[in-house]
């Protein structure tokens, strides 16, 4: 036996359960303390870190929202001047979109995709670590700049010429543009990891029609990220070049065009909405069956709806440019394509309704969030149909009607599902349940606070209140409703605070969860809570779309993987037949150093173009350090 333990290619077949777990733990273990903190490549640790950071940014962005509501609560309030207000709404929008919504959805994907697929780590785990550090650096750049009074003040959309060299003095707009670069690198890295993980690391037997819907959603989202994000990188690079070295992309006097910015930005900006929304519908599709005690209704239509939404997302960027005077001929086409997105959304809503109809509801907190989602998202989707109409949009575009609409879609359609997801998978990640009692209170506060805060904004917009104004005159009939909205926003804020308090408290003192506390069907519930660093002692074998419900008492697994090195299983793309045993990289500090080097290069390059030249040398050095083979067992072939 001891000889067997020493041999280089030790397989799990040679070990009993207890010994196997201890050997796997030794192989996959991350050192404790600071060293482990900077070197870990465990997708769960990185994802949790990502999620916690994103929620911290959510709270910061929320504080900014409250400041804006304070200023708008009465006409001509002098609490916040125009300069600070412009910075506040820009940083609020940028934080919520780039530092909260997209990263948190991607992070939940990083957390759950490998667990749901039954593999031991995400593909390219070091890239994953790099992604987190870059994201953190981007967030810090924005917020440190904001604290230093260099916060961007040109809106989260940074329209030229206002953000261009002539009308935006200093480095404020550059900070915004470069923050975009940071978050795009982070998001693109995760998209690549998820695409490859889904294609190649599924548990044996998990053919395309057995992939959990959340994974499908993340898969489609990743493709949307890959195709949409380069547009904003091109746009923000062009903006920085215009501002720093005097290129003329957006200067109409020298052959440039102000609308070019809008085309590029919205070619990214509209799919961005679906980058946030698709993971959320994936969460609903994966959580809902557990709380109605039956498999999802209409698996295939739901997958097709996800793919359809992902494709249509690219057809409607012009949707944001209806008032820019584009040719009339195209308008009906863009109206039609904008409204067409209602069809896949409708398919999803109807399938979920049928699932509930055929099932037996279990009234726990995640299910309550899903009901709140239905109420608000359907409303937001329908106002979306209104703004998709070109003529109607000319009245509501850039008013509080649109502010109301997209908060209904993003908070109702993405944040409520996200809170359901956090409540639901919290038990898996911490091994403890979140408090049901506090949870019900926060659902109630969030639901009531949200609707009372944002519904009146529809009316304010129709009454003529434009967006992005730091104040309004007393002779305009908006004062009363604005005060009401501001007061209700406090209830919404209280709901978020209660949620965070509940999470913090339950993480330490919550009720123990057990492996599968909700009685769910997908693979992440087949391992312990929290899962060990290697996720699964043995790779599960999948025989249906709801493995934990359909397989009776015993989990079919495969054996034969090595335990002396970090090893996982590669399967074919369509059928998920085992193809190879592959290794997964060890812990490394190089991704952290590469992120530091990249940060220095990116930050300095808004001050001098030469930073791209000298700054790329440390980046290259850290990347060589990262990829240089080390002769570990993981390098064997």
């Amino acid at each position: 036996m001891s000889e067997a333990l020493e041999q280089r290619d030790l397989r799990d077949t040679a070990l009993d359960e207890v010994l196997l777990e201890s050997r796997l733990a030794r192989t996959w273990h991350t050192p404790p303390g600071w060293v482990g903190f900077f070197t870990t490549v465990d997708h769960k640790r990185i994802a949790v870190r990502y999620i916690v950071t994103a929620f911290a940014f959510l709270l910061l962005g929320g504080v900014l929202a409250l400041l804006m509501r304070l200023q708008l609560s009465r006409p001509e309030a002098g609490l916040i001047g125009p300069d600070l207000y412009n910075q506040i709404f820009t940083v609020h929008g940028s934080t919520m979109m780039f530092l909260f919504a997209v990263p948190v959805m991607e992070a939940v994907g990083v957390l759950l995709v490998p667990l749901m697929l039954g593999t031991r780590n995400i593909a390219f785990p070091r890239l994953n670590a790099f992604s987190y550090w870059i994201y953190l650096a981007g967030g810090l750049v924005l917020w440190v700049a904001f604290v230093l009074d260099v916060g961007p003040d040109v809106g989260w959309f940074a329209y030229v010429p206002l953000s261009g060299p002539q009308y935006s003095a200093g480095k404020r707009a550059d900070i915004w543009a470069q923050m975009i670069t940071f978050t795009e690198i982070a998001a693109l890295a995760i998209a690549v990891e998820i695409v490859v993980t889904v294609l190649k690391q599924r548990a044996p037997g998990m053919s395309l029609d057995r992939i959990p819907l959340f994974v499908w959603a993340m898969f489609v989202t990743s493709f949307v990220v890959i195709l949409a994000m380069p547009a904003v990188v091109v746009a923000s690079t062009a903006l920085i070049l215009d501002r720093l070295v005097g290129t003329h992309f957006f200067n109409p006097a020298e052959g440039g065009d102000a609308l070019l910015w809008q085309h590029l930005f919205w070619f990214f900006g509209h799919p961005e909405v679906y980058i946030i929304f698709l993971p959320a519908v994936g969460m609903i599709s994966s959580i809902l069956p557990t709380f109605v005690r039956r498999p999802i209704f209409g698996y295939l239509p739901l997958v097709l709806a996800l793919i359809g939404t992902g494709i249509l997302a690219f057809g409607l960027w012009v949707h944001h440019m209806f008032t820019t005077g584009l040719p009339r001929v195209g308008e009906s086409f863009f109206t039609a394509s904008s409204m067409a997105i209602a069809v896949p959304s409708g398919v999803q809503i109807f399938c979920w309704l049928a699932t509930i109809w055929l099932g037996r509801p279990v009234w726990r907190v995640p299910f309550l969030y899903i009901l709140a989602f239905f109420f608000t998202f359907v409303l937001g989707g329908l106002t979306g149909v209104m703004v998709a109409s070109v003529p109607l949009d000319t009245q509501v575009h850039d008013t509080y009607f649109v502010v109301a609409h997209f908060h209904y879609v993003l908070v109702g359609g993405a944040v409520f599902p996200l809170l359901a997801a956090v409540t639901y998978w919290f038990s898996k990640m911490t091994g403890r349940m979140m408090s049901e009692r506090l949870g019900r209170w926060s659902v109630a506060l969030l639901f009531i606070g949200f609707n009372f805060t944002f519904f009146p904004m529809h009316i304010l917009g129709l009454q003529g209140m434009p967006r992005r104004i730091y104040t309004y005159q007393a002779d305009l009939p908006w004062g009363g409703m604005n005060l009401f909205v501001s007061l209700c926003s406090l209830a919404l804020a209280a709901g978020f605070l209660l949620f965070v308090w509940n999470a913090l408290r339950s993480a330490r003192a919550g009720e123990a969860a057990g492996d599968n506390p909700w009685g769910a069907a997908t693979l992440e519930w087949a391992t312990s809570s929290p899962p060990p660093p290697y996720n699964f002692t043995r790779i599960p074998v999948v025989r249906s779309a709801n493995p934990l419900w359909d397989d009776g008492g015993a989990l079919p697994v495969a054996s034969g993987l090595s335990v002396n090195r970090r090893e996982l299983l590669i399967t074919t793309t369509a059928e998920a037949r085992p193809e190879a045993r592959e290794t997964s990289p060890r812990d490394s500090a190089w991704p952290f150093w590469a992120a530091i080097a990249t940060t220095i290069m990116l930050v300095c390059s808004i001050f001098t173009p030469w930073a791209v030249v000298w700054g790329s040398i440390p980046v290259a050095v850290t990347l060589v350090g990262w990829f240089w083979p080390r002769g570990t067992p993981e390098d064997d072939s």
Binding site: T13, A123, F124, A191, V192, V195, V196, K200, P204, I226, L227, M229, P230, A231, V234, T237, A238, L241, D242, V245, G246, T247, H248, F249, N251, E254, G255, G256, D257, L260, D515, R538, V541, G553, A554, L555, P556, V557, A558, S559, G560, L561, L569, I570, T573, P578, E579, A580, R581, E582, T583, A620, V624, F627, W628, P629, G631, D635, D636, S637
Partner: protein, 200 residues
């Protein structure tokens, strides 16, 4: 849940080649990202050209000599590139070493020519929007050239260490060759825009 062993994986190879390798798919995904970037760059070029009363704007079209030489150099380099890829697939260490040296040289040649090409553009990046997009397209492609040459040099160094004779390294060489083909491929539409369209 109690595990029940239903399959044995011990017979599987220790490393997947080609489409069974994660890095191959990763390379593909990055090519998709960067390809989108090139497509958008060319899109911006065409968009600006469609707005302009004349094209190129206020400048003579770039002198075709250096750009054409680069095109020729890149197209020619595809042949040894494919050979290196084939030798890597056959795990022929000696030939791979020689091939990588050749590819390093063939990577540096277009970079040297590129310096002259920038000089032959007849327009500065801050003259007008045409100059800006021309410089950015060329800069974008140059960045890819530099990246891939650096990657080739590092691989070459690895192949002369004890880590060289390893299936994973051969896989890396193949992925690097794949990427070089991509860099060559993306040059063609850029070349067509910069030199073809500007002369129409």
């Amino acid at each position: 849940m109690k595990p029940r062993i239903v399959a044995d994986l011990s017979h599987l190879p220790l490393h997947g080649a080609g489409s069974a390798s994660l890095t191959w798919w990763g390379t593909l995904a990055f090519m998709l990202i960067e390809g989108t970037g090139f497509a958008l760059g060319v899109g911006v070029y065409l968009y600006l050209a469609s707005l302009a009363p004349e094209w190129p704007l206020g400048a003579a079209a770039p002198d075709p000599l250096w750009g054409t030489l680069i095109t020729a150099a890149l197209v020619i380099s595809v042949v040894p590139n494919m050979l290196v890829s084939r030798w890597a697939a056959a795990h022929d260490l000696r030939k791979v070493r020689i091939g990588l040296i050749v590819m390093t040289v063939l990577g540096i040649v277009p970079l040297v020519l590129r310096v002259y090409e920038f000089g032959a553009l007849n327009v500065s990046w801050d003259s007008n929007a045409y100059g800006s997009i021309v410089w950015v397209l060329l800069g974008l492609h140059t960045t890819h050239l530099i990246t891939d040459v650096a990657d080739t040099v590092v691989l070459l160094a690895v192949m002369f260490t004890r880590h060289g004779d390893n299936k994973r390294r051969y896989g890396d060489v193949q992925d690097n060759a794949l990427y070089w083909n991509f860099v060559t491929l993306t040059w063609l539409p850029v070349y067509a825009c910069l030199y073809g369209l500007a002369r129409l």
